[in-house]
Symmetry: C2
Subunit: 324 residues, 2 copies
């Protein structure tokens, strides 16, 4: 079962593409992309634009290969009727000073950001999905570390509500092309590889911008080898090269100076170009109709799986699913 | 056209009963009763209980004689899908310090109260009712003075959004039975007359508790007359006695000492007992089915009145109403 929130997050595809957001223990998991969050945190974006971006992002999620019969993707603004009662329970149990402490918000921040802390957390609880999740089902949340304050507060509330606490797993941030001390920026193209880049752009960006941990000259590289910990091409390969044996070989050869930065970059370019081409082809196959199917919470295919499910596999007598 | 929010407000019936919440200029008006507000501001109440109270309150509103073909009553939690996008626009434009200044909230207050400021204001704008209000329709809000900070902020936001600002009219608070310097309390029965009281209880409360502005003795009353400004029975008659001529006669006679407190209380008892009996009889006629009709935003009878309405009275080609 996968629950995915469709918002306007820039690089969210990685969580899906690399499998961090996959089913665990046959329960629930969620990858957060929120149209309302985007709207509240980006002064320049209108709500309709955030909703459109959310819809387009859903195509990227779907292109990663999720099974529609087990996946529900939603935009917060579409699904708010089910989220809101749960969010209210959470909001009632978080004080302003807790929220300011946890998120570092200031008095000049808009009040929507505070409210959003609870909206963000509400899909962590099965009662947000009454038409297809069994009450008490525990939620599993793969998340980037910057989302942690939300869910730590949320786990505290769960305790007081005697609801099952969501389980969290943190994904690492990928370094920007310029290295660990730098940040990817949506407005600075050279800082990141985009899923919309052409293979040529991918290769060019890697060659030109990816920070090298190798020697400054051929001689230095051959003499001292590369520092893998700060080498962006190697760090990226660790994420995207599926063949662990090859990765180990590259690591050894590169660290010892036997392999050169250019060769590692070439291999990374091949790997990412293939991945991006595959993703772009898969994404082309995703039409609006398929997105609407993923976004429909009242599908029979979802209900049968969860409401009144019996061990024999035969559906038990089902309660009427609540309209959403 | 009347929009009424069904929550758990205690004395809200007055606004309807006395007509403050009636149609104005064929536009919109709203009387706020919010299940989410009740929940966030009352530590002891659960959300389901607030929703139940909201439903029961709707019966009191309906019993005041609203026309179902022109009236939409809603609980925030039911109608949040339409309110939320508008609330987001408002939340984005109100900072924490504005909200703290306007409402006097503290850091120990729950974050829901801050968010609610925007939910509260969202029905002030026609885009919250896309299936039956013409875009740009101005809203008219009869309100108690304590609600004013919400709507003052909301008018400021409207200005920046170039949305029509809601028009406000303030209703006075009725003094508690014990007089102007005291407060009605839901937990102290002797402070207020309830619409659920029997005529006998009404008369007894008025006789026993209503603060008199008359003389302490028969002689004093005859010599000095009554101070109408602090006399609760007279203040109540000003609200509930429909016959303005009789009210003036009573005022003159009572102020001059010709009429005694007991007589004024007797008249008030008759007036209120009759009003309450009528209301209770009308309320008995309101069944759950009628409430559901008032609470259905997708009724044809509402849409025909507003969407694509033409001056000739013939319905123009209608856009599909959005599902809620």
């Amino acid at each position: 079962m996968c629950l995915a929130r469709a918002g306007a997050g820039g690089c969210s595809w990685r969580a899906c593409g690399r499998g961090e957001a996959r089913t665990t223990q046959g329960e629930g998991d969620e990858a957060p992309w929120e149209d309302d969050e985007k709207f509240l945190f980006k002064p320049e974006l209108g709500l309709e634009e955030c909703r459109r971006l959310g819809f387009e992002n859903a195509k990227d999620i779907i292109a990663c290969g999720f099974d529609p019969s087990k996946t529900f993707i939603f935009r917060d603004t579409d699904y708010i009727r089910e989220l809101y009662p749960v969010a209210l329970e959470i909001q009632k149990r978080i004080t302003l000073s807790q929220a300011m402490g946890a998120f570092g918000f200031q008095k000049s921040d808009n009040i929507g950001k505070f409210a959003f802390a609870a909206i963000q957390s509400s899909p962590s609880f099965a009662q947000s999905f009454p038409s297809f999740l069994k009450p008490g089902t525990r939620c599993f949340i793969p998340q980037a570390i910057d989302q942690d304050p939300y869910f730590r507060l949320c786990r505290g509330v769960a305790d007081r509500m005697k609801w099952p606490k969501p389980a969290l797993i943190h994904s690492k941030f990928l370094p920007a092309l310029q290295g660990h001390q730098t940040k990817m920026s949506a407005s600075v193209e050279s800082t990141a590889l985009y899923m919309t880049d052409t293979p040529k752009q991918i290769r060019k960006k890697i060659n030109k911008y990816a920070f090298s941990g190798g020697g400054a000259t051929l001689e230095e590289q051959q003499k001292y080898g590369a520092n893998l910990d700060v080498d962006v091409p190697y760090q990226y390969l660790k994420i995207w090269l599926d063949d662990d044996e090859e990765l180990e070989q590259i690591g050894k050869a590169y660290a010892s100076g036997e392999m050169l930065t250019g060769e590692v970059k070439k291999r990374l370019g091949d790997v990412v170009a293939e991945l991006v081409e595959k993703h772009q082809a898969a994404r082309k196959e995703v039409d609006d109709e398929l997105v609407h199917r993923f976004m429909d919470p009242n599908r029979e295919e979802l209900r049968r799986k969860w409401v009144g499910h019996t061990p024999s596999g035969a559906p038990a007598e089902e309660k009427e699913a609540q309209p959403v």
